[in-house]
Symmetry: C2
DNA sequence: ATAGTTTCTTACCATAGGTCAATTTTTTTC
DNA sequence: GAAAAAAATTGACCTATGGTAAGAAACTAT
């Protein structure tokens, strides 16, 4: 599949473009492959790009001053990933992005993004709606962290993201849920035994 | 101050509008006053509007199945508030919005919002950026919840939102931090004594 | 001001989840 | 497919925070 076809049929599936617009789109994105275990981004680096995940699995994580890792976001097929706080502010990353399963990504720079917004308001609309959904899901997660037990959050996670669960290690899940791997292990045992 | 002047000079401060656009803007917003202790929104209700806070203080909170309250968001002057998950999806509220200090609000419906976006792409841009900042701050909060102790989160809160702290009760802050009022009380004691 | 209500604090015990260390299981690599 | 490395589990113990209950302090309204 050509980059152009992929862009039109998968990433912006649902939107229609003129020939001119297709060219602009294709020029703005770049395809890349990333092997498992590699780092797409390190804390401290400038963040100029965001990435669309066509294939594979990645995670964004923060390393606290005490050295502990906290997974902020996973991304699988059809999700976008970056250190968005840094991306939006054109500042340096606070987080790392690690490839968990061999991935194919389409990257676009913030500058090209702004160009696209300018030429195609429908893209601004597309990304605003994407932001709205992300906002809603973050809010849901905050509520979950405030109101649920670790066990409830785990069940919720594997029900909501069965496709992610298959791709990641338990310690990734634990660091996403805000518990230790030992606690997660005990929770899983508990659930099996009833 | 007229509604129009207020809209132009405070809410959308920084943007410039034609006469036509000003009219459209003014028609879309409605001013309202809300007394302390009243509910702007109850869980279960349909959410058609979002609100700009010109004056006062409000909070959005979720009541968990066990009856406990969890504060998701505060809003003071120049913030927007709604049950955004419900607002974006045109679904029913999961949360309550309570007025904590007598408030003056400007409300706008989702429909009128869409109209404005359509006629003025710069507004879509304005709100996309607003969403980006909200996204970043939610992410920051998730990281804080995952990586910090209750005491650290409290210090962080009073440093980051000194203007909010003045307006709210300790139990509001506790429910925002995800701890009990007793724990917050112990933390405050600890901080005073050293 | 005084009574009533709401909010905050304190004390004591309970518990979810963390820590450390050892062991088993699974995955990777040659 | 054997050895090495990584991940998951388990047990014993610990700690931060929760639950309950009572009293103190701070507002509110007459």
């Amino acid at each position: 599949m050509t980059l152009e076809t992929e862009l039109i049929t998968t990433i912006f599936n649902g939107l229609s473009f003129t020939l001119e617009e297709r060219k602009l789109l294709t020029r703005s994105f770049e395809k890349l492959h990333l092997p498992k275990h590699s780092l797409l981004l390190k804390a401290g680096e400038a963040v100029y790009e965001q990435y669309y995940v066509a294939e594979g699995c990645l995670r964004t994580y923060y390393i606290a001053p005490d050295g502990k890792e906290h997974t902020v976001q996973f991304a699988i097929t059809d999700w976008w990933i970056s250190d968005y706080t840094a991306f939006f502010n054109s500042s340096n990353a606070l987080m790392h992005i690690e490839c968990i399963q061999d991935a194919t990504l389409y990257k676009i720079s913030k500058n090209d993004m702004e160009q696209l917004y300018h030429h195609m308001p429908k893209l601004e609309s597309y990304f605003r709606k994407k932001m709205e959904r992300a906002f809603a899901s973050f809010q849901k997660r905050i509520i979950a962290n405030l109101s649920q037990t670790a066990s409830e959050r785990y069940l919720n996670f594997i029900n909501t993201y069965p496709n992610i669960e298959q791709n990641v290690k338990n310690y990734h899940i634990a660091s996403y849920l805000g518990i230790t791997t030992q606690s997660l292990s005990r929770i899983r045992k508990e659930l099996v035994q009833g």
